[in-house]
């Protein structure tokens, strides 16, 4: 078959070769940039503190003073959305790092060496994955106690598996390529082969997955705080806002719950679009 397109195997050359009509990617980037900007510049976008209570002006609707109204404790909702976004998004992104690093490392080792270590680690991975994700994370946070570090640890213990599997699969493909054998023939140590030849060529899939993982983490964090676990009040956070606002739905104060929910949805969509778009870009050039 004639070679009509020549493949480029490097993540950097792929980014340069963007497709002009990659709508999803641009839409996702746009949304996320806006969301992140809003969260980052929270202090400029609102003069209210998210935790300042004002028991005189509770449950007010939108007004010139309080853009989106106030909640049951008189806190400004717009401000809580912005600062809550800061907490949630930052945490969701940071919580991806440890599993990414751990999972990639483990996956590369398993894929490269195979044998008993591969079997052992993959069985452990199977056990972890056998539990429903949320059940496991929630239980762990419950055991470890509240706080941001518990969330980090819980997510890390559970999430590394996906990265390990992805990287393991990619590593096994790369390992059979002749340039790995050429390196072995040349006497290069396994350690150097893995770090210099294997990892750079397998990491792109893990990066794409990391995008969707952040979305998952947002869901986890929001769920955890909805149940009162994880993030401790008064730190603002969307999940807690949703939980606390529930009891006021009947009274018609839907915006207490709906607004943070909408924020979660928009952020998740944005990240999903980026993930989809990235997958398309990277797949084309493979």
């Amino acid at each position: 078959m004639s070679t009509v397109i020549s493949p480029s195997h490097n993540i950097f050359t792929r980014i340069k070769g963007f497709r002009v009509n990659n709508f999803r990617l641009y839409l996702g980037l746009f949304i996320i940039v806006v969301v992140i900007a809003m969260a980052f510049f929270a202090s400029y976008l609102t003069k209210f503190s998210p935790i300042q209570q004002d028991l005189v002006n509770t449950l007010q609707g939108g007004s010139a003073k309080h853009f989106l109204g106030t909640d049951n404790l008189g806190r400004d909702i717009w401000s809580r959305l912005l600062y809550g976004g800061r907490t949630d998004l930052f945490l969701a992104s940071a919580a991806v790092l440890a599993p990414f690093i751990i999972g990639t490392f483990i996956g590369a080792i398993c894929g490269y060496f195979s044998g008993w270590i591969d079997t052992l680690v993959m069985r452990i991975a199977d056990v972890v994955v056998a539990f429903p994700f949320y059940v496991l994370v929630i239980s762990l946070v419950f055991i470890l106690g509240n706080g941001v570090s518990s969330i980090f640890i819980a997510i890390s213990i559970v999430s590394w598996v996906s990265y390990a599997r992805i990287v393991r699969g990619e590593t096994m493909i790369v390992r059979s390529k002749e340039f790995i054998e050429a390196a072995q023939t040349g006497g290069i140590s396994n350690r150097k082969i893995i770090t210099r030849h294997v990892l750079p060529n397998v990491i792109t899939q893990a990066v794409v997955y990391a995008m969707s993982d952040i979305v998952l983490n947002i869901g986890v964090i929001v769920t955890l705080s909805y149940f009162g676990l994880g993030i401790v009040p008064p730190t603002p956070d969307w999940g807690r806002m949703i939980a606390e606002g529930q009891q006021f739905l009947a009274g018609g104060y839907y915006y207490l719950t709906v607004l943070p929910a909408v924020a979660v949805i928009i952020s998740s969509l944005g990240l999903s679009f980026i993930g989809d778009g990235l997958a398309v870009v990277l797949r084309v050039k493979r």
Binding site: M1, S2, T3, V4, I5, S6, G17, R19, V20
Partner: protein
């Protein structure tokens, strides 16, 4: 261009364009050749020459970003390209059939081989199952598969590479086609098996009087099997003749000469080969000029202008020592 023989297939001024990263590139241009009834034409070239694309254009199997932009492919008097390939669809599998390179990919792994052989036959005629099975056994015998009664119910994984290719060929002759299009059918096979398959093709040609259009990069195979030859380079035909021996004994185009001097021959003198340093420029780096018309050496033999294949930059420096 052709002598008085009847042509089964007439390709005229075929141009194919590929769309890559938003831009159009000419993949092949001004490709014209005929396949005479009962004859075999070899379409040879190296990678990137356009030979596979040409064949796929005839089959109607071009990738989605590749399209035919001009020219005609006439079979039995009707253009296969006309009417969005409606006529071609009716003719593929009956009048024209195909044999591909990788039988393990072209055969359905979960269907018995007997059934696959007569699949299209059953569709185009009213044979019942028993008759189709008998026909399959006949065909398997014709292509040299031993114990066809036992093997007709086998699955592809039970067969060797050579056997699978015979099954493909049996499927190709099942409907009694006039023309078989071959896309490198022996490239993936060991040389001993390849020899058997070439013998099979020769046998079928003389028994069934079927015509062949045989695409390959292997000139040796074409020498054994074909009557006519077209040599492609960088999307154009550089030399073609109805009598392959003329081209082999006195190649007129520099590229053909270079190609022939690069081939190691087992029956030739032991001497240094002459190679080309690099392959032709890739599709996106080629000149987009249209192909100039061919010149006739004698009736039935024509070549492209010499300037086309800029071989000076490709000649290996070792040749000039």
């Amino acid at each position: 261009m052709m002598s008085a023989a009847v042509n089964i297939l007439e390709v005229a001024n075929l141009q194919i364009v590929a769309r890559i990263a938003g831009r159009d590139y000419i993949a092949i241009d001004n490709v014209s050749f005929n396949v005479a009834a009962g004859h075999a034409r070899g379409l040879v070239g190296e990678s990137g020459s356009g030979k596979s694309l040409t064949l796929r254009a005839i089959m109607g199997l071009l990738p989605s970003n590749v399209r035919v932009t001009s020219g005609s492919i006439i079979f039995r008097g009707t253009d296969l390209l006309a009417d969005k390939g409606k006529y071609r669809k009716s003719v593929l599998g009956t009048g024209i059939s195909m044999v591909f390179q990788e039988p393990s990919v072209a055969l359905n792994p979960v269907m018995k081989i007997g059934k696959q052989i007569t699949d299209s036959l059953v569709e185009h005629s009213d044979l019942n199952r028993r008759q189709a099975r008998e026909r399959a056994i006949d065909l398997m015998d014709q292509v040299g598969i031993r114990d066809p009664q036992k093997r007709v119910d086998d699955f592809p994984f039970q067969l060797s590479g050579g056997m699978k290719q015979r099954v493909m060929i049996a499927a190709a002759i099942a409907c009694g086609p006039e023309l078989i299009l071959c896309d490198e059918p022996t490239t993936a096979l060991d040389v001993t098996i390849q020899a058997q398959i070439i013998d099979l093709f020769k046998k079928l040609r003389s028994e069934l009087k079927v015509s062949l259009l045989y695409v390959t990069h292997d000139i040796g195979v074409v020498a054994e099997l074909c009557d006519a030859i077209s040599v492609m380079y960088s999307g154009r035909i550089v030399e073609q003749a109805d009598d392959i021996n003329k081209v082999f004994s006195h190649p007129k185009h520099p590229y053909t000469q270079a190609l022939l001097s690069a081939i190691p021959r087992i029956d030739g003198p032991i001497e240094r080969l002459k190679g080309l340093e690099n392959t032709a420029p890739s599709l996106t780096h080629r000149s987009q000029e249209l192909a100039p018309p061919m010149t006739q050496v004698e009736p039935g033999w024509e070549i492209a202008p010499f300037e086309f294949a800029d071989l000076d930059q490709l000649w290996s420096s070792a040749n000039h020592d």
